[in-house]
């Protein structure tokens, strides 16, 4: 697939930009660690203080990230991190997943799983409706059977499911 043949599909987020952002984020993280460690004390007080080790690792991260930053800035190759089309695909998975995790907090795992299965199968796949319905109902039931009954591991539940006596 040459670039000329598919001009629109080949456009996307530049890898160089992502590399630079990640390296800067890591340097920020290292800075945070150093600030925290030196704040508590990273020296010697009858023994190494509890910031001693993290501070040294923090410096290591700072230096490594700086190197990564330099090589990213100097990179000549124009590579694409992810094309817009790919990003759209990833978002179609990531957004339902985000909603699912959000749902677990309010609806518990069973109802969220049901909704997540249905949403995912409808947006990503091309299934008949009854397949979607069957899968979305069956999966939470199997999970319930495996975890609550077989392994006796309680999972987060909504008040509704909790009233069923588990």
């Amino acid at each position: 697939m040459s670039v000329d043949a598919l001009p629109s599909a080949e456009r996307g987020l530049s890898r160089r930009l992502v590399e630079i952002v990640v390296a800067l984020a890591l340097m920020g993280l290292a800075g945070l660690v150093l600030w925290d460690s030196y704040g508590r004390g990273a020296g010697w007080e009858g023994g190494p203080q509890n910031g001693y080790f993290p501070a040294r690792v923090g410096w290591l991260l700072m230096i490594a990230a700086a190197f990564a930053l330099i090589s990213a800035v100097r990179a000549r190759r124009r590579e694409i991190f992810v094309t817009w089309e790919q990003l759209r695909q990833v978002a179609r998975v990531f957004v339902p997943l985000l909603l699912f995790v959000l749902g677990v907090a309010y609806l518990g795992i069973y109802i969220s799983s049901l909704l997540f299965m249905a949403l995912f199968m409808l947006t990503v796949g091309s299934f008949r409706l009854w397949t979607v319905a069957a899968a979305s109902v069956l999966v939470p039931l199997v999970i319930f059977w495996v975890f609550e009954i077989q392994f006796l591991v309680p999972l987060p539940k909504s008040p509704f499911v909790a009233t069923l006596g588990f």
Binding site: P54, V90, F116, G125
Partner: protein, 506 residues
């Protein structure tokens, strides 16, 4: 001799009907994990680990290590039939395995791959049986400085042997260490790097991080590539198996070479991935049918599979004997041992003989069981790949979320999983290696404790790391491995010049 007796006792432990059942279940689950995208060895073990907390530790580790064997076997199925490596270590298997499948020799390729895996694993287990007790006995003399030396050696060899950008490997290692340090400091009792957030007080659990980094991210990557499975079909019958086995002795040199490469790469944490490529490369260089490689040469299947399994199995040696895992999956298993209250390392061989030898015996049995099961069930597992991804993916993601939740029963951990899933996706795409991060996260606390105890003993003087022959050797080896790339370059240049010299003299 004493060890062999212990091994026999171990077989008695492993051969109870209950443990054999766990072994079979583990292998089956492992193959599923190896075949499905998004569920790899480390991730599969991490998700199931919390479910085993209530089990007897010996049974639990037999179950989990069997998943590991299964995953090693399973990776080959997708490589040969679908040209999609289920695991990174089976990438090299696709080079010749898939062409063989295209030529209609899929059954032969699969038999070769599984048998080679078995031979490699056997080599690794033999190594563990005979060498691990010696290493453990030797390591009983280690003090904190020596232990830090071994940790240092491990981390340096990761940096030195890694193929990725060195700065990125160091960054990845550092992140692992820092994540490990978050939360309650066990020595001073203070909270570190929590920034006033109560959720961070308990720190980052490595299982949650592994599930996010390896599981969620893998699903995102798979969906991005757009899945179009066009697989070859294969059913293995006994005739093909026997015919393939009859040809194997002719390749003894390749099998032996790959086993040795694998064992070496597994013990030093070069890992199964590097070992499989090295095994393939060496086989190609020495083979008489070199030009046939890449077009469906059986030797090209045997070499990487043997090496990958020998490495994958040998990675458990340092984990058991020193408490230092040689791979990401071994790191997860080690985390499990810690949760069960077993401190891996030299003392384990003295205090928990039954456990250690039971586990080693189960490695023999688990691989035999794995070989038989995988040969018999290939068609079933190949059909898993034909289930639409849009149905499998949400189930995998739900299982990941449950796995993250059950570690500590915390809903916050599901959010962490999501965050690390995103981080893993970005890191994989811009080639920050994930294995060093996991390794440092698991070992971080113990490496730090060893470091602090060592310099506490010396009053802050770093020369404690060169105070005796043993620790100096470890540190010097570590530095040599750290600069492995530049050193070999230098040697190569010197040798190259020598080779040039005679020509110049002519």
């Amino acid at each position: 001799m004493d060890d062999l007796q212990q091994l026999l006792l171990g077989f008695q432990v492993a051969l109870t009907w209950q443990n054999v059942a766990f072994m079979i279940v583990g292998v089956l689950l492992g193959i599923v994990v190896g075949v499905l995208p998004g569920l790899g060895g480390p991730n599969g073990v991490a998700i199931l680990l919390p479910l085993t907390f209530g089990m007897d530790p010996t049974s639990a580790i037999i179950l989990l290590s069997s998943i590991y064997w299964g995953a090693l076997f399973g990776g080959a199925i997708t490589s040969v039939l679908f040209n999609i490596p289920g695991e990174a270590w089976s990438v090299a298997t696709t080079f010749d395995g898939y062409p063989m499948a295209v030529q209609g020799r899929a059954a032969e390729a699969l038999t070769a791959a599984f048998t080679a895996s078995f031979i490699g694993a056997l080599a690794g287990v033999l190594l563990i049986t005979f060498v691990a007790p010696l290493v453990a006995k030797f390591a009983l003399r280690f003090g904190p400085a020596e232990f830090f030396g071994v940790f240092f050696l491990t981390f340096c060899s990761f940096v030195g042997m890694g193929k990725e950008n060195k700065a990125k490997i160091v960054a990845s290692l550092s992140i692992g260490f820092l994540l490990a340090a978050v939360g309650l400091d066990t020595i001073s009792g203070d909270l570190r790097m929590t920034f006033g957030q109560t959720e961070l007080m308990k720190g980052f659990d490595f299982l949650v991080v592994v599930i996010g980094l390896f599981g969620v991210s893998e699903i995102l990557l798979t969906i991005e590539e757009g899945l179009h499975f066009k697989g070859k079909r294969a059913a293995i019958d006994l005739k093909v198996v026997l015919k393939t086995w009859a040809r194997l002795p002719a390749y003894w040199a390749t099998l032996l070479r790959s086993s040795v490469v694998g064992m070496w790469m597994g013990v030093t944490p070069g890992g199964a991935i590097a070992a499989s490529f090295m095994g393939y490369g060496l086989a190609k260089r020495f083979s008489r049918r070199r030009e046939n490689f890449g077009k469906g040469e059986i030797e090209g299947v045997l070499a990487p599979e043997t090496a990958a399994h020998a490495a994958g199995t040998s990675a458990l040696l340092p984990m058991l004997a020193l408490g230092i895992p040689g791979s990401a999956t071994a790191a997860v298993l080690l985390g499990g041992l810690l949760i069960w209250g077993l401190q891996p390392g030299p003392l384990l061989f003295v205090e928990k003989k039954e456990f250690v030898w039971g586990l080693i015996a189960s490695m023999y049995l688990g691989n035999v069981a794995g070989l038989l099961i995988v040969l018999a069930t290939v068609p079933v597992f190949a059909s898993i790949m034909r289930i639409p991804f849009a149905l499998v993916a949400p189930i995998i993601l739900i299982v990941c979320a449950i796995g993250a939740y059950t570690v500590e029963g915390s809903r916050f951990d599901i959010w962490l999983m999501l965050v690390f899933g995103f981080v893993g996706y970005v890191f994989k795409k811009i080639e920050y290696p994930l294995a060093p991060l996991v390794l440092a996260l698991v070992l971080g606390d113990r490496a730090e404790d060893a470091f602090r105890q060592a310099i506490l003993g010396s009053g802050g003087d770093l020369s404690v790391f060169f105070s005796n022959g043993l620790v100096s050797t470890l540190m010097i080896l570590a530095v040599l491995l750290l600069f492995w790339g530049p050193i070999t370059d230098l040697f190569g240049r010197v040798r190259g010049r020598r080779r040039l010299d005679p020509r110049l003299a002519e």
